[in-house]
Symmetry: C2
Subunit: 312 residues, 2 copies
């Protein structure tokens, strides 16, 4: 049996190997994904995002345990930007997560960037599919980071939770359209700290301004993840949002949109690497670069020429 | 006269309009860049990067003033990730920079992401070229952020300075290969704070481990930007590094590499948007998405099919 078949037979080690193949863009990754694809579409995907230090990992950890108690199997994909500046928090998260790994019903995986964040978004989508095909019920996609690209990654989720904490000061003013659009649920973590009520008021005001015409008003929940407070309420609210978007057809719309975007991203990546390979192989690349450097031509004209020569 | 010709005639407003066209991917951006390209290659490009809060903007500000005193014109491109979580520091930076904008010899521009960070890297490269063609002597590319993609943006510089501050705690351990590779010069800003000597020692150790076989040992400088301390030393060191890489041919190698990467990035972007447009126009996109959703096929097979149909 190959990796994909073993994975479909419930072999955890094969799931792990499949995700490694995805992460490393191993040559058999596409074959694995083709085999797995018909078996996807059953898992529910939860995005967890928010600024660094908001306690997203601890919260995800507790939420995973709550789902386990409700009889669900859980996958966690933690996006690690592998930035030279990313700091110690990420390493700490990884170690912490080991407390869950003894549970056979939980599958945890962190995904690094290596290449570009764009590539990461595509790899995350494939890792979600691998866990889905494996038969996991609920998949968390958790970003540790901050950037727009990581917001894009979380857009791949069925339901997205934005985690905030009190004491962000004026930073709340920077939480503009982007975050209001992606959050189906807001959670104020560390809600026992000073400023939780102030943050709640500010968030409410922003959501009221934004949400006049919307029929799902994102609820704002409070939690103290490391004391296990607010966890069941969050899981209940996930369920409520799931039922809501399933009932009104939005879940189908979101998944169609996701399918489209993932397909286009894959296309971009594949065509890009195909053409790079071709102009390296036919020895044209160095020729082009020399001509551009000598200002005999310019990159924009060269790109037009390459497209002319390679596209039907 | 069109925008590019006006820019080449020294019209500041035309430079501003050209960069806006680049940022918005306006349809005339390519024509502008084709006209400007032969006039590029004269400016020296300085990258400034480091973790948030390191005081990069204040430092860049002071360095720009020092270059002005030495008779150079200066461009500053501040990369603003426009993240929903990016916080107030960025807004603050923008306001602060206005103190320089009264000087006709300084041109400041911030560039946001809008789309992907990948796109930003390409737009930054074009903005650098626009300033270069305008006749600016020294161009700073300053990132406010943290991610790998922003490190990639800074790789487009001739000389890169990494700015760090004392009190980063164990985060120094996270400053691994990536940062050592990109830093030609390290500056410890806020060097009057506790821990500056400790950071200096740690950095020295890391650079010694890394630099055994290298002939340019990145110097570590100290500065207190808001008190104007250490500024002339940094500018002198930029000059020293410039002379060094010009003398041994490395500058040419770096610029060749940059030309190649920029050309390939441009190619990726153009081909991606061309193919997207075509499968939307021929009505195939929705058909593909429906077939994938129904699990009649899978994204990987569809992408193979599209490539087959569009590539020569």
């Amino acid at each position: 049996m190959n990796i994909a078949e073993e994975l479909l037979n419930g072999n955890r080690f094969a799931l792990s190997k499949a995700i490694t193949a995805i992460e490393n863009e191993h040559e058999n990754a596409t074959e694995i994904m083709k085999t797995l694809y018909p078996h996807t579409g059953h898992a529910y995907v939860l995005g967890v995002t928010g600024p660094p230090g908001a306690g997203k990992s601890t919260l995800t950890d507790k939420l995973a345990k709550e789902y386990r108690q409700r009889g669900k199997t859980v996958g966690i994909i933690a996006i690690d930007p592998s930035s030279p500046f990313s700091g110690g928090a990420i390493l700490g998260d990884r170690i912490r997560m080991n407390s869950l790994t003894l549970d056979e019903g939980v599958f945890i995986r962190s995904m690094g960037t290596r290449g570009s964040l764009g590539g990461l978004s595509h790899k995350t989508a494939d890792a979600v599919k691998a866990m889905d095909a494996f038969g996991v019920d609920v998949i968390f996609v958790e970003t540790v980071g901050v950037g727009q690209s990581e917001v894009d990654i979380v857009k791949a989720a069925d339901t997205t939770m934005v985690v905030l904490i009190p004491g962000m000061g004026d930073d709340i003013q920077a939480i503009k359209a982007g975050i209001l659009e992606i959050g189906d649920i807001f959670t104020i973590n560390k809600a026992d700290h000073d400023g939780a009520d102030k943050l709640m008021t500010e968030l409410n005001m922003m959501l009221d301004l934004d949400g006049v015409m919307k029929d799902w008003r994102p609820p704002i929940l409070k939690a103290v993840a490391n004391q296990n407070q607010g966890i069941t309420e969050i899981v209940d609210t996930f369920k409520k949002h799931h039922d809501y978007i399933e009932g009104n057809g939005q879940l189908t719309v979101r998944r169609t949109e996701r399918t489209k975007n993932e397909m286009l991203d894959l296309l971009d990546g594949r065509i890009g690497s195909y053409i790079r390979r071709r102009i390296v192989e036919n020895g044209k690349l160095d020729e082009y670069v020399e001509a551009i450097k000598a200002r005999k031509t310019d990159p924009y004209s060269v790109v037009g020429e390459v497209m002319e020569s390679m596209l039907k």
